[in-house]
């Protein structure tokens, strides 16, 4: 480990940059991913383009040029469809669906084309595409820009889904996603972009389908996804300091494929389960993981599994309600206590 610190945003940028240097078939495309390249006020003056609505792809247009960093029209069905086709015909496109909430307009391209082509062509075609997209509430962006929705994609066979929680994981997982021969949806929580963490120099790949134990513990397993990993760690810290409760925090990192073994073996150790997920609760990862554990490890459970999720509603516009909507460390602490049979 180089001991080098960078933000979640920079880690993603670096993963893309390294892969674009390594493999000339890697391209990026999306609304404003270059953001101003070839415009008169930028061209010829050496000024940097915008580089995405939150600056994640900043600098890539400068290094790799307009042929590999493509600003697209505001037409998700068009450019996601183009990315599927590009992938099927030999490129490794990284398409940016700005907010996951927009998936409706390009769902045929993702679900009925991208996810299925490999199967429709008996394996003769493959779709090595990555769709990067922003998720999550907490940005005061209201219902149409704040959902998580990764459960929807995880439901669909043919897609892989990745939800990183740290800069280190984001870089290693995105490199794996780009190199993967199947379509991968890469969900970036917008509140995490400014979060700093240690990120080694150079290339490293974190295999898809490999969970990470973010904190070891004995008394209860908390499976947390994306931003919720940090709330779970905070809750674990407070529980350890307050009551001496030892919480194990498991970060699945990829939801499809899901690392069932790490979750199961953790529960077999702790005998208690709490799942924390910012996504809505019905047909969700939370229910899925609880079902997994109860079907495979019921005889190891020493209390009812608990779920801490957003409510079954659209992310509210009111900041007060939005804050209430998002699972909090307090709610996690309460759920851990319930799982432990202490309330």
């Amino acid at each position: 480990m180089a001991g080098r610190s960078m933000t979640f945003r920079e880690a993603i940028n670096e993963a893309i940059r390294l892969e674009m240097r390594r493999d000339p078939t890697v391209i990026i495309m999306g609304e404003d991913v270059a953001g101003g390249a070839r415009l008169p006020h930028v061209e010829g003056r050496g000024e940097e383009a915008w580089g995405g609505v939150l600056g994640v792809t900043k600098g890539l247009a400068k290094e790799f040029g307009r042929t590999r960093v493509l600003d697209t029209p505001i037409s998700e069905s068009a450019f996601i469809g183009a990315a599927v086709a590009a992938a099927a015909t030999g490129l490794r496109p990284i398409a940016e669906l700005m907010f996951v909430d927009f998936f409706g307009v390009c769902m045929d391209q993702i679900f009925n084309q991208g996810a299925k082509l490999r199967y429709m062509f008996g394996g003769k075609a493959k779709v090595p595409m990555v769709i990067r997209t922003m998720v999550g509430a907490g940005f005061r962006a209201a219902g149409q820009h704040s959902g998580c929705h990764y459960s929807v994609f995880t439901h669909m066979p043919g897609l892989k889904t990745v939800v990183p929680s740290t800069p280190y994981d984001a870089k290693g997982l995105l490199i794996s996603a780009i190199r993967d021969d199947d379509p991968v949806i890469f969900f970036e929580h917008k509140v995490l972009y400014d979060m700093e963490g240690e990120v080694p120099e150079g290339e490293y790949a974190i295999p898809l389908g490999q969970a990470d134990i973010k904190r070891e513990g004995r008394d209860v397993t908390v499976v947390a996804i994306g931003r919720m990993v940090h709330f779970a760690l905070e809750a674990a810290e407070r529980l350890a300091a307050g009551d001496g409760v030892s919480v194990e925090v498991v970060d699945p990192r990829t939801l499809s494929p899901l690392d069932e073994e790490t979750i199961i073996s953790s529960v077999k150790k702790t005998h208690r389960l709490v799942v924390v997920d910012e996504d809505n609760p019905r047909c969700s990862m939370a229910t899925d993981i609880v079902a997994l554990v109860t079907t495979r490890a019921i005889e190891y459970l020493d209390g009812p599994p608990q779920m801490v999720t957003a409510p079954h509603t659209v992310v509210p516009f009111s900041p007060v309600l939005e804050d209430y909507y998002i699972p909090s460390p307090e709610k996690i602490i309460q759920a851990v206590n319930t799982a432990l049979g202490r309330v």
Partner: protein, 385 residues
Amino acid sequence: MAVQVVMPKLGMAMTEGEVVRWLREDGARVARDEPIVQVMSKKITYEVKAPQEGILRHAAPPKAKLAVGAVIGYILAPGEELPVIPAAPAAAPGPAPAERPPTPAGEVLATPMAKRLAREHGIDLGEVRGTGPGGRVQESDVLAYLEQRRMAPAAPEAPPAARTVPFAGMRRAIAERMTESLQAMAQVTITTEADVTGLVEFVDRLKAQVDISYTAVLVKAVAAALRRHPVLNATLVGDEIRLLDEINIGVGVALEDGLIVPVIRNADRLTLGEIDRELRRLAAAARAGTLTVDEVTGSTFTISNLGMYGIDAFTPIINPPEAAILGVGRIIEKPAVYRGQLAVRSLMTLSLTFDHRIVDGAPAAAFLQTLAGMLAQPALIFGEV
């Protein structure tokens, strides 16, 4: 409308009871007040009667241990369906309930982990106290139980049992009380051989007219002796020794599968005939399992008689919270020196166990001497001479 049959509260201290056996089968038509199920507290066995006429439905199997007030069965109208037992409400956030609420009929509430551990260790979950929400047995409870069992004096490797008897109910109650007694008190046993030829003659004379048992005379004699030696009719509470006003004599009655101690209240104020009749009534009730709580509580001194089994002396264990217990041996004719002559006399060994915390050897011996004197000359029982 279905009427619930619940686990009765058979005494102030009772918190749970055990279903011993159903006297009427599931689905039987029963009459109002007909005995339908036998239940057991730590002290007594009791027959629960049908609260109304109807069809009996069982809701708890034999051996089920249930909290007082828990439903053990229903009386239904003909054609009526069993009510659906509502699931326990989910534990709401808040302070843990102090009292264990009734568990669903016959079922031990336990987590899957606890059930698996219990199965792996061959533990009856009914024996494990649940500390989880709603009294749910959790892994930690089973582990604590195992630890407790491990710490208990290790039983030598037992050869395979031909049959097993449940260590529960009355058996367990006796075990707990006897162990508690020996652990809490400083017990000393003294014995004396009493010449009871006078007693034998007295009873023989009475029997010509009325059938009076030796036990009745013993109860009367002990009560009279206690009046003169009140320190043996005492109990230790905190930092006080309380000399008790009432003299209530407990008399051990052996049962097929245990022992029960019905009580003769105010034995010093009853006539011999009253004592005898009360003894017969209580013994019959003890064997029929119909003793009430009041009839088995409140004794201040206990008599244990093993004479009918050919025993002379033994070391009876005090029935807490009493201060002493009298062990009565057999009456046997022996050659003895009587007034300077070798003669055939009726002798009986009396064994007195007393709590040395409350009373010392000399006053305990004085009591035994008084008693032996009364049995030698029964007239002494009935008044100061």
